[in-house]
Amino acid sequence: MHENFWAYRRYFWGKLTLVSTLVLVMVYIVSSQKTSPNGGTLVGLTYGILSFLAILLLMYYGKRKRSYTSKHWSLRAWLSFHVYIGIMTLILVPLHAGFKFGFDIHTLAYVLLAIVVISGILGGILYVLLPRRFNQFGEEVTYGNNSDEELRRIIRQMRALAADKSQAFADICQAEIDHGVPKHHVGWSLLWNQRATAATLASQIEEFEGYLARIPDAEQSTFQNLARLATQKRELENRITAQMRLQNLLEAWLYVHLPVSIIMLVVVIVHILVVFYYGYVVSN
């Protein structure tokens, strides 16, 4: 199997993060014997600086991701680093704060960080799990506008068939064109609303046979063609819905991860500014 970013270079970043976290936790435990741990001690400040540097490096990944010409480290190396260091901040920040939280902007910064990291972990897991499920769509399915073009072609053909036909034919044709095509944006509702994607071919055939009675005799044979196109369209729609649902599942976490990360960075800067505004002294 293709090595994913979690397992990059035999979990190099995972191992490094684990060891560093253990060392930092040990230092925390030892230093907390002597003094009540918080962000104002030398150890607490060090953890704070490390956390901030980690956040900056994590944020830099967003820029690096788009820089295709960069030669420093591969993108996979960056992603692996990004994921493991991100998880580490979840522990590093409480070590900085001495595990003391309150209803204030300082804790807010951590809550936002936690949201970012957890959404990131979720995204990371989905990236590993979901692509396998795309296999069900076969080789020809690719990301892009192929499905869109195919749908448009079918609709064009259906419309062409109905051009000179009776109103009954046109109405059925229009109903079939409208069928399943969302009138407005459904991307988000698709995530938690699993639409009926399994309407069986048999039920469609029955539906079309019911229509036949309303179609003038002269148009019956053309209607068979319309029925065939309509069936193709429904199949395509089902495939698009299922495919887009998976694709959206793969992307949805980013709509939390990215905006919250920027908000978090702003709140972290506010946290630092507030602490220094009121006077910061490193104590023993």
Partner: protein, 574 residues
Amino acid sequence: MAFTIIRHNVLNDQAATQQTQVDGNSLEIGRGTGNGLVLEDLHIALRHAVIEYVDGRYVIKDLETTSGTYVGHRSVRIRPLAHGDVVHIGNYNLRIGLASREGPLTIDVTRQTGDEGADGRAAVSYLARYRLSESVWTKGRLTVWGLVLVLGVPVVLLLFGNISWGKKTWRATNLLAPGGVTQAHQFIGHDCASCHTETWKAPTTTSCTPCHPSPVHHANQVSSPDCVSCHREHRSDHKPLTKMGDHFCVSCHGDLQTDTGKPPQFAQHIRAFEDGHPEFSAALKGPHESKVTRVKLSDKAALHDPGAMKLNHELHLTPERMKKLGFKPLACANCHRADKQGAYMAPITYTEHCAQCHPLEFDERFPGQVVQHGKQPEGIQDFLKDNFTRRCLERSVEQTAPPQEGSDAGTERRRPGQALALPREPQVATAASVLQCRDEGVRDAQKRLYAGGKQSVCGLCHTLQDPVAGAQLPTVVPPTIPERWLPHGEFHHQVHMRAMKHRTADNQALCESCHRPDLGASKSTQTTDILLPGIASCQECHSASGGASLQCVTCHRYHDEGMKSIRKPMQAAR
């Protein structure tokens, strides 16, 4: 007649206009290909409507369709057309242009929605309706609105101030503080500026001194740290600000420097109670000394109490010797009792602890009458004169037996409990003889009180200084019993007694288990003996193995009053 049809198309993203001419008196409109104007919309009937030139004007007729024909949004069956009318059929808008009533009719055809890419319009993407990126909630918008929410709410709350419900109040400044303030500072009431006087700077010592005029730690210290460098607020660990870790002390005392550059008085390297802490040093100051000297408890040669008070502990604490003298046996606790707090020993006073066995009787003829304690001999002279004058007047006629030859009753001090020996009575007759009688009595009483060193009433416990030139009476050296022997170490007797109860039920043994276990208070005969336990005694429990606290602040205070608290003269009048 002719109809001009103008259609707007988009070809390869370029807008293009197509103009066609239809001749005849009528123009048929519909979905069917046989119509003069074909509108590709399945909602439109095959033959939908017709525009005719009738009686010198253009009229539109709907051909009884289900979806209808509209002019200016009104459904019409038949209606004359005017310049500027807009006909709606299905998804199409037909704008009518008429130069004159009879003039050629122009129809400008536009489509409301380019849904199906008809007319060569840019193809609509169906997938876009599924794509998250095409949603109203783009990442950019989510970021902006999230920021507005996350920063806006605290700003509004801070502007709004405090929120109260019932007896509780939530203060918006809590949002900025990285933790609450300690209970003692709650009264400041979130008035940040009362401590944070300057922005971008930590509160300075001047923020604290109005309420806490604490003394400096040591006159010779190299530098005085700001209050906040040790006492940190907003920690939300609910520990009092005085709860300091040893590392605060060790940061200086680990390698102690002085501002004079001289080595420190006691120890240069103290890293813990068991690592470098010197032996305790008693603060000693005799009655005639101006300076306090510190003498280590281990320095037996120099360790003497200069307090000018005479006390034989052994005599008082040995039951047999006390019985011999006719007294009940004493224990430490008969004299040494803890103060109200139970921490230190309450001061020993004559009235409370000595008077019962050591009454200051001055003459056997005045049974039960005593001179006032705490006054110098000069001060009690008048008292004696008064007493003897009164007595000599009363006894002016009475003749008593002459004193026995060689008797030294006047100089021999009566032991407490001993029967009073019969005194000599002076012979009284005249005023001069009364005065003589009085003076003799006073002289005898003074002899009894002061003469003969330890044999005298006062000299038993006090050091008497010979009369200075020109004076006749000696001076009692005022004793100096310190309230605290170890001025920089705090101690709590009751806490220790409770903690050590399990060792022995005998209180006496309990006291002696610390106070000179090598000698024992009951074996101390010298008044100069200092019976304080040394550091080794404390370290029996205050050690890694002993289990008792090893923290510096257990015994020491950074802001202690130090030497001020020692050598307060005992309250002599009592």
